[in-house]
Symmetry: C2
Subunit: 332 residues, 2 copies
DNA sequence: TTGAAAGCGCTAACAA
DNA sequence: TTGTTAGCGCTTTCAA
């Protein structure tokens, strides 16, 4: 910046005015400074500026998602980026991997870099450690799962309703023996989806002895093995509700192995790429990840703009997509 | 930091020593300072530190990919993050969208935030604008596509060989009328894959009048329409090589519409999720995005560690995966 | 319209 | 082992 000032024959404050598009710079000076900037390939240091700037804003936000390699997270990320870029904000992205220590480290990394706000998914069981940051006024929006131990803005899918919708869909087609497949029971969304499932089973007056609840499925392989075991029982389920992406893929594989994909109904929670190209197509309850990301970013920026309104809990609706696998009827 | 120093009854330099795990702090002082840090929930400002620190490192890198919503980019991103996190680095991620102005803006956003290095995919036709940054010593690795107009480290898939492999696979099965489907011809990878295709066609002595080259397919829909048109010709192709992901999906849809998915061979460039669950399974040349990200991050960190060796062009091999669609024989 | 001086939170250099 | 002073690149404050 000193070099630019010297080259343009002005003081550093004038260069500062030009960079920040402040008023009270004559056209001639403006041109001279801009020439000097171009000539020296000068890029101002945002963080040096934020040090003294009132509010200390860095035009940077932090985003913590399940894993940046996961398409669900990718869609959230993209929506957040699109909102951020409009305002000249940059986005730090980190992956959580269901690991509480990664959560803490990521948040700390964001804070040490003085982000203006954060959009977070949680893995640990309490976010009380964020209390001091809230008091300091760090805007914070939770996505996919609500914070525990603190009250913050959040943007969530309607997990209970989505699961209930899928379950009702199967019950309406006459299924009574319906299996529930869930991932790690300590994950908040897993519990919510289980709740929706059980609610509908109860309302339909189906005995819980008829339903199989299989939880803590970690990946495709364990899910596939669990489904193979289920279907080899004496009274196998006539329908399956799989409450997570990878588990649904495992279930599809198991059904194929037994050649039952046209005889046993299957509905998955969360959409799958090319699900409509399989035979039968896979019926799902789809979430709206870019809607979640968009809402979260809007809420965060509203807070950054000074919105001091009450905490908002935004629920993004899910949608049932019938493609065939969920419309299979129970054997007569 | 002043508050911490005061509370611990030491000077700020001592706090600085503790934060940075520098030697020459007595155990007693260390404990007092750490207590004060915990008590005040103090998190040091990395950027304020970097201002004065020699080298000015911020432990931050910038990553620019096609789109963070794209699974290919997601895998690269995740691999980069895994290497970065080991060293306490944070990652800025941005999407390119094949838009030269987004490229410039993203790079500028990174530089203004004083990243220590960048991993970039390009959209614009020349990266000569980065010359000053190179001279200033900003480490830089290009992924997926090489930089143009400057000489930098890069990590690329073997696009020409991969496309040649796919083409040879089809020729070896007796196909003569093979169609090439490509995306925007100005995209570097598109040209490379076309080159590999044409090389094998030429070596097999197949007349180019027998092959159909359809380029500038923008998405699934245009690809699907193009394939429908191709297959309705008098002399339709007996095999299709689709050189990009979304185009392959469009081709699959078109083949299904005409019920030709078991009669016309199809090989795609880039793997598709659940490609093995379709009927027939989709044969592909798969890239190794996490291998690309890993190699790029390793190279970048080697440069950050002071490696001043010659520019490296790393090629990550592709792999042919036979699943059925590519093994369909031409009609007798 | 412009610039000089002070200071943001931290580390380098040096002195104690 | 510890602290003091200066200064990183910028913005604020205030005077010219």
């Amino acid at each position: 910046m000193r070099d630019v000032a010297r080259l343009a024959g002005v003081g550093t404050k004038t260069v500062s005015r030009v960079i920040n598009a402040e008023p009270n710079v004559s056209a001639a000076t403006l041109a001279r400074v801009n020439d000097a900037i171009a000539h020296l390939n000068y890029e101002p240091d945002i963080h040096a500026g934020s040090l003294r700037r009132r509010g200390g804003v860095t035009r940077t936000i932090g985003l913590l998602v399940g894993s940046v390699a996961n398409p669900f997270a990718g869609s959230i990320h993209r929506a957040v980026e699109d909102r951020a870029i409009e305002r000249g904000f940059a986005v730090f992205a980190s992956s959580l991997d269901e690991d509480p220590s990664r959560e803490r480290n990521a948040v700390s990394a964001f804070i040490r870099r003085r982000v203006d706000g954060v959009i977070l998914t949680r893995a640990s069981s309490s976010q009380a450690y964020l209390l001091p940051e809230i008091e300091r006024g760090l805007p914070m929006v939770f996505v996919d799962r609500p914070a525990a131990g603190i009250d913050t803005d959040s943007v969530l899918s309607d997990n209970v309703e989505g699961a209930a919708l899928a379950t009702r869909h199967l019950i309406d087609r006459g299924h009574q023996r319906i299996a529930f497949l869930g991932d790690r029971a300590d994950i908040w969304t897993a519990g919510q989806r289980r709740e929706g499932f059980l609610r509908e089973i109860g309302q339909a007056g189906i005995s819980t002895r008829e339903t199989a609840i299989v939880e803590n499925l970690e990946d495709e392989t364990t899910a596939s093995e669990a489904v193979l075991a289920l279907l080899r029982r004496e009274q196998p389920p006539t329908a399956i509700f799989s409450s997570q992406n990878l588990i649904t893929i495992g279930a599809i594989r198991a059904l194929r192995v037994l050649e039952l994909q046209r005889r046993v109904a299957l509905v998955g929670f969360d959409d799958l790429p090319m699900a409509d190209l399989l035979e039968p197509g896979i019926s799902v309850v789809s979430q709206n990840p870019s809607g979640i990301g968009d809402a979260a970013a809007r809420q965060l920026f509203a807070r950054l703009d000074g919105d001091r309104g009450p905490i908002r809990k935004i629920v993004v609706p899910t949608q049932f997509i019938a493609r065939g696998s969920g419309e299979i009827l129970p054997p007569a």
